[in-house]
Subunit: 482 residues, 2 copies
């Protein structure tokens, strides 16, 4: 299928006398000097431009929090459609995505004994609610997921499991690789062992902030769900101190939340239509939904803004690019990549038409590393891109593979050539999924650097003579990661 | 009255053959070399001791938030009585203090138009509640108190006044001198002009935290009170952004709070009894109440702990000091120095028996400056104290006057000789009156330095040959401040 597709394409391109994608598979994919120059101009223009910041400011000010399926879901989609149009995108459309509707209504917790006091917490995505009036149960503490996994169910049954893992800051946010599974798998394991409820120390690096970090759990069937919530770091400290007195500690957990039916939202898509190969797309984007305590500025208003602004800058060029720049504002990333999976399902047959793609979903810090999953003969073109990005601080790591980002990882899994443009996430997990995810965390100059990266790479991929190897299952065994 | 009192005292002391306070008024107050040495030992022991930290840990863990008159008021007093006893204080007693009972039940606000979204806020002390279901009104913004004062009442009437002043961090916390009046006077002025409600940008330096700073208003008669609350800094930013669109902005304010009758709490006092002059006291302390969103660690668990620990270390000496070390855990400082005013009223006649005093109520940062309001002939003794404190980072500023701290400023106003021991408040207003006032903000080594300062100066004052000039109205015109 892959070779047939390429051969047909080659025949058609050769007939027009142009360097063909298939041809490039032999000669290697290259980017013309003219395209490189235009990309450099785009990069420099973007570095001094505030379009990206204006977009994230508009989204977070006019819409604010955007919990998938919540009261602002439709408002956010309306905003995205209007914004794409205002930015001059040629084609703006939506692709429906249906998912379970999880609602947060209220949450409250308190230590009942031995030292009565309230605790700051947030219910987790797909958490069950408690019966009205709450539940009160004894707390049993585990230092990590391994200890919970190893626990005798008899020690957990009927209790509130509390897992405490301290995330530390890192540029690549590596501790989220430990903290996230505590939140996702922890409640499922606790439920299976008969726990009455689940609490974790927030998967966040803000050790001194009373802002809990919400996020999704691994509950997929509401029947398996138990009440599950995150304590802020200082509240987790407090609970540990109270436990250290050695007396039984009981907590009252009162969560009003849960899944009620399903909801149909949509991925909102804007395109700058390619003039030579309109059906070949560079896929970039962010996710339009956010968690509800903040206004979703860094997660992921920034990503939406970066991709929209990159598309707009390319659209402002005197001529349309050769290939289409497709900017996708994904639905419901937060509760399980619903938008990304929906997109991949709907576009599976078109994977070969996805020239290259990646999503921005790691905040608003500067891009400092580029990695790629492309066919070997496109590595030279990636190096050309790297050369354009190097002056603005992006290092190309040829040894690592690209993954396409959160939602677009699903399309990469189907065979789309993909980059990973790693942002500086040193402070990302201070704010991620908290009430503190607000516009003041976005630094205009850092955001502009991201727009420069996305505009330059997208344009070069759009103008490339040749492809990057997208085809069904093309990157199945490439060990793509991060 | 003052001279008569001193003469009588002089006569009695001369009769016993000891160096008298009145005598010292001629010769100058001095501290013996032996007392200096013991103070140095106390200082060095305190620097390596964690008694202070253990006390604030105990208070914030076992009691937590301590809103004056709230559910923890009695628990906090019980804690203080038990803690004084456990620390070996000779005499532990309470002195009742009665004040209006202000209760916080719930608070909620949202922008209704043009961009609906919730706002993070906290009602202010003595704020009125709104009618059930809230009030909705248009917002009118002022950049500072002067602009509000100058406003035509017609522009304010029926509206929600919003005053925005950005506090900046400073070692001496000087911007609180602007931010605090916005919170205290702003609501009173807005009410007088017919405003429906009052909001301020929090008087806090945490520009990026969704934790509003509560605090007291100047409402003294509930009849004058209107609903008044503080927005977090990012919420104030957001409101300013929304206002910048130039459309009318309306907010729904729903506060359930208010004054309901009065409450009788108490100052809790512990004493290390002086062996020579048991009725002469060195008065130190902190305030036992706190605002309710946090656990009152830096405001003012730290102050209570510093004074208690200093007293305990002096009590651990082989001999009782010459004068009594009186540690006062004041009631309801937060809503208007009720404990301090109560103490000053009850002890007005004893002002001359207050050898020297000061309260710790500016967090848990290191003491970096000492100033004093004492009689001229006691300056040499203050310099002796300064010499003992210099090695641990305390600079003596002889040009400034001491004020005694928050509650004890009231006793200083009556004539008590007083120090001010200024702490490093660089980050104090990041956390002050917020949910983030929790134990993790207290650094044990910095707290220990405070204990060293209080133990050393208290002991030296207790052992001084001579007094520091306390007498009715002794410092009326000394320009005491900070």
């Amino acid at each position: 299928m892959r070779h047939l597709r390429l051969s047909l394409l080659a025949a058609s391109l050769l007939a027009t006398g142009m360097v063909s994608a298939a041809n490039a598979a032999d000669k290697g994919t290259v980017i013309s000097q003219q395209a490189v120059q235009t990309a450099e101009q785009l990069r420099d223009k973007a570095m001094a431009d505030n379009t990206g910041y204006k977009i994230v400011e508009s989204l977070t000010t006019e819409v604010g929090a955007r919990l998938a399926g919540g009261p602002n879901d439709q408002r956010a989609r309306d905003w995205a459609i209007a914004k794409f149009k205002a930015l001059g995108f040629d084609k703006v459309y939506v692709e429906p995505v249906t998912y379970p509707l999880w609602e947060r209504r209220s949450e409250h917790a308190e230590i009942v004994a031995p030292f009565p006091q309230p605790l700051a917490l947030l219910a987790l995505g797909y958490s069950a609610g408690t019966p009205k009036g709450g539940i009160t149960a004894e707390v049993v503490k585990f230092d990590g997921l391994a200890a919970l996994k190893a626990a005798d169910p008899a020690t957990v049954k009927g209790k509130i499991v509390f897992v405490t893992f301290h995330m530390q800051r890192a540029k690549d946010g590596r501790d989220y690789g430990i903290g996230s599974p505590v939140r996702v798998q922890g409640p499922v394991i606790a439920s299976a062992k008969g726990a009455a409820g689940f609490l974790l120390r927030s998967a966040g690096t803000d050790a001194n902030s009373r802002t809990p970090h919400t996020g999704v759990t691994g509950f997929r069937d509401p029947k398996d769900a138990i009440p599950a919530a995150a304590l802020s770091n200082p509240d987790a400290d407090q609970l540990e101190r109270v436990l250290a007195y050695g007396k039984p500690v009981s907590i009252k957990l009162d969560l009003d939340c849960g899944v009620s039916g399903s909801y149909t939202g949509a991925n909102v898509i804007g395109e700058i239509t390619g003039k030579k190969y309109p059906d070949q797309v560079i896929a970039i984007g962010g996710h339009l939904d956010s968690w509800d305590p903040g206004t979703g500025a860094i997660d992921d208003g920034a990503g939406v803004a970066i991709a929209m602004a990159a598309g707009k800058l390319i659209g402002d060029l005197p001529q349309r690019p050769d290939r289409t720049i497709r900017v996708i504002a994904f639905a419901n990333e937060e509760m399980g990549l619903w938008g990304g999976r929906g997109y991949a399902d709907q576009h599976a047959a078109d994977v070969g038409k996805h020239q290259l793609g990646t999503e921005s979903d790691f905040g608003a810090g500067k891009v400092w590393r580029m990695t790629a999953s492309v066919k070997p003969s496109a590595r030279a073109a990636i190096e050309q891109i790297a050369k354009v990005l190097a002056p603005i601080g992006v290092a190309y790591d040829a040894k690592r593979r690209g993954g396409g980002g959160s939602d677009l990882s699903q399309m990469h899994a189907k065979g789309m050539a993909a980059l990973t443009l790693t942002q500086d996430g040193t402070d990302y997990f201070d704010y991620h999924h908290t009430a503190n995810d607000t516009l003041d965390k976005v630094h205009p100059k850092e955001l502009a650097q991201n727009v420069a990266v996305y505009a330059a790479f997208s344009y070069m991929a759009a103008q490339a003579d040749g492809d990057f190897g997208s085809a069904p299952d093309a990157f199945k065994n490439d060990g793509a990661g991060d």
